[in-house]
Amino acid sequence: MKFFEKLASIDRRIIYLLLALAVVVPILLKLVLPITVSEPVKSAYAAIDGLSDGSVVMVSIDYDASSAPEVQPMLLSVLRHCFAKKHKVVMLGQWPLGLPFGEIGMTTVVDEINRAAQSPADSIRYGANYVNLGYRPGYRALMVGLGREFRDFFATDYRSAPVDSLPLMRPIHNYNDIDLLVGLEAGQAGDEWIQYAGARYGLQIVIGATGVVAPDMFHYMQARQIKGLIGGLQGAAEYETLMQHPGTGTAGMVPQSWAHLLLLAFIVLGNVGYFVMRRKKA
C-alpha cells in the first residue's frame, strides 16, 4: 500500500528524467532494432517506384519546426528515391514556415547525389531536375486553382525566377502534368489535398504524416483515395529501410521502443496502484 501511495505522489521530474534516460542511452549506444515494413509504407514506396523514369513528382511541405524530427526523414528518403528513379521533383508548400525545411532537405540530398556523381549526366540541377516553387497563400483555393494553371499562383519560384525560365516547369501547367503528389503533413493540408486535388482532379497521392495526423489518414488508404501512407517516425524508419539508407528515423526506433516500454510500465503501475488503493479504502 505504502509503495503505491509513494508511487502516486512521485515527483513528475523523476518521470521526465527516466524518460530522458530511456531516450538518450540507446542514442549514445547506437542500438539498432530490426525494422519490419508495413503495408501502407510498402504501398507508398511502390507508388514512387512504379512510376516510369522521368515522371514528375510534386512534394508538398506542409509541416514546420515543431514536427520536423518526424517528417524531415521522410522528405530525405522520398527525395533520394525520386532522384534514384530519375524522377523530376516540383516542391511547394502550404506552411510558410516549412519551406526552409524543404530547401534544407533538397540541398542535403542534391549535394549528396552530386558529390557521388561520376558524370554530369548523373548530377542533379536546379530547374532541370527539380524546382522549389515555395509558398503561396490560398490553401483550398490554391489546390483547386493548380488544377487549372500553376502560373495563376506561381508566376515565380522560391528564388523569384519566372517559372517559364525553368525548363522543368515549361511543360507543367496543371495536375495533368503531375504524376504523383507526395504530401508531407503535420496538419489539415493532407485532407485538403485528398479532397480537392485527389477527388476533383484524380491526382495520385501519397501521404507522409506525423504520428498525430496518421490515424486520420488510414480511412483514405482503405478507400484507396491515397496510394500509400508513411506514418510518424516509424513510417520514416520503414521507408529508410526500403531505401537501404538508414537515417534519423532508423536511429530513433530503439529510443522510441524504450520510451514506449517505460510509458507502458507507468500505465500498468498506475492502474495497479489505483485498484489496490481503491480496494484498501473500500
Binding site: G134, P137, R140, R200, P215
Partner: protein, 207 residues
C-alpha cells in the same frame, strides 16, 4: 563558423526550453518570447515575400504573370477587400471589414461543401461497400454501422439498438486508443529529435 554558432544557439535554446520541465525560469521565458517574436517576424516576411509581392505588387505594377491589362486591373478587387480587412483597426469604419470576412467565409463554405461531399462522403461510402469475404471487411462494416447507431439519437437506446450502440462505443474507444498511441509516438519522436540533435550535432557524442 556560422554553422557552429547556429548549432550552439539552437542547443542553448533547446536546453532553455527543456529547463521548464524542472520549473519555470527566466531562461525558458527568454526562449519562449524569442520563439514567438521570430516566428511572427518570419510570418510577416513570408506574407510579404510570397503573398503580397508576387501575387499583387508584381503583376499589378510590373505586369509579371499578368497576360493582359484586365489581368492587372482585376487585382484591384482583392486589394480593396484586403484593405477593407484592415478597417477593423478603426472602430468608426470597422464594419467595412465584414464585407471582406463575408467573402472569405463564402468562398470557404462553398469550397468546403464540395470538398466534403466529393472528397470524403462519397468516396468513403464507396470504400465501405465492400464484400464481406474477409475478417477485415466484416470488422470495418460492423464498426461503421455500430458507430452510426451510437450517434443515432432519434430512437430510444433499448434492445438491439442499445447493443449496437455499446458495440459502436467500443469501436470508438479503440479508435481513440489508436489515435492516442500514435500521439504518444509522435511526442516521443520530437523528444528523440531534440536529444539526437544535442548528442549528434552539438556534443558530437555520436558519429
Amino acid at each position: 563558423m556560422m554553422h557552429i554558432i547556429g548549432t550552439w544557439i539552437a542547443a542553448g535554446l533547446t536546453l532553455a526550453i527543456f529547463s521548464f520541465l524542472y520549473k519555470d525560469n527566466p531562461f525558458y521565458k527568454f526562449a519562449e518570447h524569442l520563439y514567438v517574436g521570430v516566428s511572427a517576424a518570419f510570418a510577416i516576411l513570408y506574407t510579404w515575400a510570397f503573398d503580397v509581392w508576387p501575387m499583387l505588387v508584381e503583376p499589378m505594377f510590373y505586369g509579371r504573370g499578368a497576360a493582359s491589362a484586365a489581368d492587372r486591373w482585376i487585382l484591384l478587387v482583392p486589394m480593396l477587400f484586403g484593405l477593407l480587412m484592415l478597417s477593423r483597426w478603426f472602430p468608426k469604419i470597422g464594419w467595412l471589414s465584414r464585407w471582406a470576412i463575408a467573402l472569405t467565409v463564402g468562398i470557404a463554405a462553398g469550397l468546403g461543401i464540395t470538398g466534403q461531399i466529393q472528397g470524403i462522403l462519397l468516396p468513403q461510402v464507396a470504400g465501405t461497400l465492400v464484400p464481406l469475404t474477409s475478417l477485415d471487411n466484416v470488422l470495418m462494416v460492423v464498426g461503421v454501422i455500430s458507430t452510426l447507431v451510437y450517434f443515432y439519437f432519434s430512437i430510444a437506446q433499448k434492445g438491439a439498438v442499445k447493443v449496437g450502440s455499446r458495440l459502436g462505443m467500443i469501436f470508438i474507444m479503440v479508435a481513440f486508443g489508436a489515435s492516442f498511441g500514435y500521439t504518444v509516438m509522435a511526442r516521443i519522436s520530437l523528444l528523440i529529435g531534440r536529444l539526437y540533435f544535442l548528442a549528434y550535432d552539438w556534443l558530437h557524442l555520436v558519429r
